[in-house]
Amino acid sequence: MPQSMQPGDAKAAEIKAVSIGKTFGAFHALKNLSLDIGRGEFLTLLGPSGSGKTTFLMILAGFTAPTTGRLMMDGKDITDVPAEDRSYGMVFQGYALFPHLTVEQNIAFPLKVRGRSSADVKQKVGEMVARVGLVGHEKKLPAKLSGGQQQRVALARALVFEPSVLLLDEPFSALDKNLREMMQQEVKRLHQETGTTFVFVTHDQSEALALSSRVAIFNHGELLQVGKPQDVYERPSNRFVAEFLGEINLLPLDTVELNGETAAGKFEDRTIILNKSITLAGKKAVAAVRPEHMFISASPQTSDCNAITCRVEGATYFGASTKYHLRTRSGTSLAVSMPTASTSPIAPQSDVWVSWPVHQGFLLPDGG
């Protein structure tokens, strides 16, 4: 991408949210949220519906005013700057295209608002149409386009005026799986090409992990954890994050002992060694391991591994992987996901060992 801007360009903005709170009547939509959004990064706001992620996006856009707190952009306080003066690009859920304007006119709108010359508008719109792959559709009305094409128009319209920040509100929620994956790649490419700061809202954890440079996880109006996709997935700081980001096995532990970087706990009659990535307030804790980090074998694996005995209750075939449903002796249910190609089928009702490398398991507070 020779003519494209690089991350860190002056075009991309840096945003700092300081103790943002928002109440609607008695409802606390956001509680004391502080978050730094880096220049040119791709930050995803992830959470279930009603978690406050969209409220935060609307505050970033300037459509909603925070009840408390300040918003800074490149060191300037923009809390009271109205949306029309922030000039961020925005892609709405449902795209919000102008239904009475053609593809071309939709994309030209923000340029015309800025009083660009018609030659400039024509050139920029032409470039953008080509960039999002809509050549040949310029004169169509949005109603004549497929969902994916409408999505491209929305992206083109939001990026054509080279905004310093692009906000995306669940842009793919209406698309089917294949189209969704294609558009995800498209958005990723546009992020790399423009170098603009992207803030992306979704409730789809795999989308968040696949796209972002960092993920911010919301629940009940609180920001629970921010980090690189790998960090939040493999080192969640609490149970909500651990369970929201994907399936996870939780084993209740007795007598947890902390020694420096690791912790040791008793599960049934075996000692389990875990990463201690969090500070533990109470004594109650669980061991957390993702299904794909565990494997099944006839004998316990001992080198740097934990192992427990289980009985196989069933299996679900997913093509590339097979998920086994197991139960420990004390009745805790487990799921283990293994590549189908590398394992021979395991018979139901057989007693097996489930093992996992020490560094893949981590300690979480119980009930938190």
């Binding site: 856009a61 300037g62 459509f63 109205p82 949306a83 029309e84 003066d85 922030r86 000039s87 961020y88 690009g89 925005m90 709405f92 859920q93 449902g94 919000a96 295209l97 102008f98 239904p99 009475h100 709108f109 923000p110 608002v113 800025r114 319209r157 005026f161």
Partner: protein, 277 residues
């Protein structure tokens, strides 16, 4: 077939209306059509007279002029009221509802006389202005075209408010937000996004008001004071005051055909459901 029986049952629900329309409008109107070709003698004589009679023509032209002015005045006023009704604060909405519904409950006759009391030479407005010393001679507000236009405009506003408000309600709020987010000023959003998205409602409202206005009788008769006769009043005069049933009938037929063409043209551009909302 369940689907079929449900459909036929739905038609049954419509039956009283169809029956009423047939007996009260279609059949008598066929009689009117016959008169226009047979009275006083068989032939196209009445239509020829209609084309040449300067009085009839001046009434037609006046009717069209009044209807166009009234339609324009109604659309502007109704648009403003609908805007407040749909997008105003809760107090503004209540006020708008009051303005729309109260006139609805008062009979057309009462309202025409009410306007006469306001607008006539010794009516409220002229008396106030004279006693305040702003004017010395009363303004000619009633018993002329101006009076007719004021009275008709007031009567027709609610009929335009409903389709316009319905078009405004169906605008996706996010589209307006999107325009704001792209830096557009409120004035620009109003003229380049909001208004174009209500064109359907505006066209529907214009059609309803214009067609309705064409047949106005009571309001022009009272506020026009016989000096600005419109088509409906002319039909009345031809049939009840001069024994010229044939010409009256021919005028009615022309009016109905004209409205029919208008409706057919509009249907090509806009679905009826969009007009009413």
């Amino acid at each position: 077939m369940i689907g079929k029986s449900v459909t036929s049952r739905k038609i049954l629900l419509l039956a009283p209306l169809l029956l009423f329309l047939g007996l009260a409008y279609v059949v008598p109107f066929l009689g009117v059509v016959r008169w226009s070709f047979t009275m006083p003698e068989v032939g196209l004589g009445q239509y020829r007279a209609l084309m040449t009679d300067p009085l009839v023509q001046s009434v037609f032209i006046r009717t069209l002029r009044i209807c166009l002015i009234v339609t324009a005045a109604v659309l502007v006023t109704a648009y403003a009221i609908a805007y407040v009704w749909v997008r105003g604060s809760s107090v503004q909405r209540m006020l708008a509802e009051f303005c729309i519904l109260v006139p609805f409950w008062i009979s057309v006759l009462t309202r025409a006389f009410g306007w006469l009391a306001m607008l006539s030479n010794r009516g409220l407005i002229n008396t106030w202005l004279q006693s305040a010393g702003i004017i010395s001679e009363p303004l000619a507000l009633a018993r002329n075209e101006l009076g007719v236009i004021i009275g008709m405009t007031h009567f027709l506003i609610p009929f335009a408010v409903f389709p316009i408000a319905s078009a405004m309600r169906s605008i996706d709020e996010r589209v307006l937000l999107a325009a704001r987010g792209m830096g557009a000023s409120r004035t620009r959003i109003f003229w380049t996004v909001f208004v174009p998205l209500t064109y359907g409602g505006l066209i529907g409202a214009a059609l309803i008001v214009f067609v309705f206005a064409l047949g106005f009788f009571v309001t022009p008769a009272i506020l026009g004071g016989g000096r600005s006769v419109m088509v409906a009043e002319l039909v009345y005069l031809r049939i009840f005051q001069s024994p010229d049933w044939g010409l009256g009938a021919a005028i009615s037929v022309v009016l109905v055909v004209f409205i029919g063409i208008l409706l057919a043209l509009m249907r090509r551009f806009i679905k009826p459901a969009h007009m009413i909302g």
